[in-house]
Symmetry: C2
Subunit: 84 residues, 2 copies
């Protein structure tokens, strides 16, 4: 089975996000109003071949823990979509 | 009305993504198999206050074009969710 995977890696809510803060301020400077609480993380997409959805999920979870996210500072979530 | 917005900014499919390539290779080195076509972009979340959903969408679109995405190299998509 083949799946498309989309992983979101975001800074933990408890931590400051300086990049987000700067973008937040820039919005106002550009005349774009009403926007607040900007936070910036990573969006990672890939494909995975696996025998089952459960196995694919386990592999993606391992990849997030070992490589894609730094769990001290970030949290991750992912969505799998089967490809025909 | 208040909305939560999630924007994904990804490198265009026609362009190389060196960061994705390196992660792709690292997966194999870490013993995580079956993963391919890794591409890495940005995931940006924020809140927006607006009079209507259409107005909020127009503002988010403007923010993406002016600040969040570089349309020469990236494409963007976003989802708005109303907050009660």
């Amino acid at each position: 089975m083949k799946f498309k995977v989309a992983v979101d890696v975001m800074p933990l809510d408890e931590l400051l996000d300086p990049q987000g803060k700067v973008v937040n301020r820039s919005m106002a400077n550009l005349g774009i109003s009403g926007i607040d609480q900007v936070r910036i993380g990573k969006h990672i997409t890939f494909s995975i071949e696996s025998n089952s959805k459960a196995e694919a999920e386990a592999t993606v979870d391992e990849a997030c823990k070992k490589l894609l996210a730094n769990l001290i500072m970030e949290r991750y979530s992912f969505v799998l979509t089967e490809v025909q």
